[in-house]
Amino acid sequence: MPTTVRTKTATLKTLPGDDVRQIMWRYADRFDLQMLATSARAVARGPVARLVASGARNTHEWTPEKASLLKEYDASGITAAFMDSAYGGYLEGPKNMALSLTAFELAWVDGGAATASLAGCLALAPIHERGTEAQREEYMKRCSPALNPEPARGAFCLTEPLPYVGVETGLLSGKVKIVEWKEGEEPLLEVNKRGRFITNMGFANFVTAAVESADPRIKGSCMVILEETDPGIYDRGGPTKKMVHQLSSTNDPVFQLKIPASRIIGGYQVKDGVIVPHYDHAEIIEAVFRRTRVGVGLMTAAKLLSAIEPLLRYHRDRFRGGESTTPGTPRYDLGLQQKEDVLHRMLEVWATGEAAASLGFAAARIYDELDPIEKEKHRILTEQGTGRGMSAMRALRKLEPDAVKIVKEGGSSDSPLIQYLLLDSVANVLCPATKLWNTGHGANELREAVSLMGGYGITEDCPGFLVQKWTDAQLEATYEGPEAVQRRQLSATMTNEVFLAQFETWIRDLRAIASRIPATGACALATAMQMWLWTLRHLQHAKDADGNKLYQSARQGVTFPMADALCWLMSARQLILDTMELEAKGRDNPSLSEGFDGLMEFYTDLCSIQSARTAGEVGRICAELVFGYNRHTQWNDESCFHRQELVTLEAIIPGIEAVASDVVEDDGSHPSKAGPCVSFTGYAEFQALRAKMDGCVTGSQLAKDRAAESLIAVMIPAALDYPA
């Protein structure tokens, strides 16, 4: 295999544009998606940016100015992006990439605007995913801008119980009971629900709400559709006084409504006089959230990348205009870019944004790939009479060894069920990883971006609305399942053997990349992945100093950090894969050929920077978990020698007295040191991996220095392309 050796340094010539992104995020041949992205961009950098700049965020209320954005979404195809062509949509097939790109573009300017666009889709998603044909027909048509000049708007109402009362999010606040059931007629239900933090509630015409039975004649839980015209109380409630995402409407509504049972999403059957919904609320929510969470993660990624241009401009222009700063001097030309710290910290923001975007779009693509296979899986299992829920899971679990075998043998399968297992196991990691890492770590890096803008950063006038983007990220880390929920999901899905089998092949793939292009840092990342895997296997069997099992559901001090570490690995890996895609396809693009070497150098260096940071994080986490649950030796432990004991041993092993350091004297005194040294018996492999990984980050700081040259040289536009 030929090895690419970098002999000279080329720098980035222009900021990465659509040509670059389309290749990296694999939609260069999807013109429908490209157009949707440019359309969403025009709305973001036009009406949305003007609203933010004019101070529309300074109110909690849903104002006519904010409402005008809905019309913009309708006119620009954003609303219809979710619709199937039968209902006025224009995109064929799965819509995960489409919605992700829309969210990305809108969040580039304002996260709340992106949330408002996604919330409409979220309201329809339960109906789209699990609704009956009649429900789909009615609500998709009513919400389609192509079919209605005034399309209906929806809100999604799961509602965790009121905060600070010590209840889990698995519990629902809504109740449903039967108020009338005449012989041969459809039952009439009464829904009582209090919502909290419900997006779109300031204007929603209908609500898809999760409720649980308060009636022995209704089984379990379900989701229902509530209409504003239903008899009873449809109180939108007051606006939530949130400090972020003010361009989205958020209220705390109250419902007490009578609805026909046909509003149960997905329908129901009557069994022994009991209404049995076809889908409980958890099944529907699972089908919905696993997709929509990706878009939320991408919102934070967009904001990180959007910070680059304003930061570059601020740093360069920082001292211009001052009397003592004359053109041609380094102070005038470079401004704050003279300072290495500014350049290095900014590269970390940039690398995080790239890795977050790569991870999120990879997750979105997987769901696009998974959607038809999932439908096929459902069809096959139905034909087999397997059923849904746990029985389907059990049936699939029996196939997992086959899937693992296929992965280990490097083969493929025509079986939709095996294909489903392979893809689903990866999606079940990438989705929570996107939601968790992009928003959580992304928020930290956005704070860094704000600080890189100095005092200007925390003002309303800061170009790029950086302080708003930073604080918005906190909400993105919270809604649709806060960080703990994502960590909990990961701690279960990351131990799936089908996933882990693929994880092992990814390590080999990264080694192959490292062999060809060492500067990517793929070697460090592969070793970090190997260390993570070793640690996971160790933790799954190891016990703490008190004999308690380490890797178990309740031991979040073990499982959650491992989930965090995996997120770092997945994002850094995806950045390397996307950079390799750029290397493979970018050179043939005439628009990129002029500056391609510099572009590749820069992205390769970003990969190295991100891989080194990842290796550092993973090494720290793994070391803490591997050693941290062992009790430190004490001076009165058996591991310490007593002087008299050594004297005796000296007769048998000459010289031992001279080399033993942890010795307790006859009077009980001991050397003045922190404590007796711990034993590493059984950890040789881990220690070897740790040492190897530290060595693997060789060159990563040089990569930072090289990439810093690009920050100084890259051309940027004269002004931001949206008002601030």
Binding site: T38, Y90, S591, G595, P717, P723
Partner: protein, 268 residues
């Protein structure tokens, strides 16, 4: 009454980009121009919007967009433009740097227009920009018209009104913010548009998807235009005037106008 409206439009770097002339073995160029984001030449874009408006009001009319530009770059621009109005694309692959000779470009454009299947010159309206943001001389459209044998030519057009007898009333910009109003018996005619009166249409991916059915095949079969930078340039420089961007808020229009007037007086 229906027309075949052919809009000639090149692409130019996004106006917000910083432009820097450089010398290359192929002649003068702009630094990193191929990598900079591009837009449809703003004057020609106005012509396209006017063409679309006219075609909508004249049933049976059809709009063609003829563009000489690097294919890959043109494709990116079309991802936006194709969402705004309906048209059939005729693409020519070639440089759009503005350093090419207008004479050569006009010859390539005219040949491409002549080759449009079913072209009826008696119904032909040739639209384009009066000026160009491509550092071109603004002469290409006139020469293209001449080559197509169209003698009725109007430049700096702000409005076109079609009479019931098919005649045109055309308003061209002249000095002092006034317009020259001309009467013309009808097609064929060349109209070099100023800004017109129409706003930029919003993006509509639905319109874009319809256009893409013809846009992508047109791009794939775009032939090399056979134009190159052959002439010698003694020197190339940016205009002396520097861009000075200032962001202001909550300022009344009258105050903005007063400040501008003061600045203009100061500049003279």
């Amino acid at each position: 009454m229906s027309y075949q409206i052919v809009v000639c439009a090149g692409i130019v770097p996004d106006p917000l980009q910083t432009l820097e002339p450089v010398s290359t073995p192929q002649g003068p160029a702009l630094k990193n121009e191929a990598m900079l984001p591009a837009v449809l030449d703003p004057w020609a874009a106005h012509a396209l919007y006017e063409a679309n408006h006219l075609a909508k009001n004249m049933p049976g009319s059809k709009v063609y967009l003829v563009s000489l530009a690097p294919k890959a770059k043109l494709q990116q621009v079309l991802m936006t433009i194709a969402q705004k109005v309906s048209f059939e694309l005729i693409a020519l692959d070639g440089p759009s740097t503005g350093f090419t000779d207008s004479h050569d470009v006009a010859a390539a454009l005219a040949a491409a227009i002549e080759a449009i299947p079913g072209l009826d010159k008696s119904r032909l309206l040739l639209f384009g920009g009066w000026e160009s943001a491509a550092r071109a001389a603004g002469a290409t459209l006139s020469m293209t018209g001449e080559r197509l044998g169209i003698r009725e030519q109007f430049q700096g057009v702000d409005s076109l009104t079609v009479g019931s007898d098919g005649s045109f009333e055309i308003r061209e910009r002249v000095e002092g913010g006034k317009h020259l109003v001309s009467q013309c018996s009808g097609a064929p005619a060349v109209l070099g548009w100023a800004t017109g009166n129409l706003p930029e249409p919003p993006n509509s991916p639905q319109v874009g998807m319809q256009n893409m059915r013809t846009v992508m095949p047109a791009l794939q079969k775009a032939k090399p235009a056979g134009v190159a930078v052959t002439q010698q340039y003694a020197s190339v420089a940016l205009p002396k005037q520097q861009r000075s961007t200032r962001i202001v808020r909550d300022v009344a229009a009258a105050e903005v106008a007063r400040e501008l007037a003061q600045w203009i007086r100061g500049a003279h």
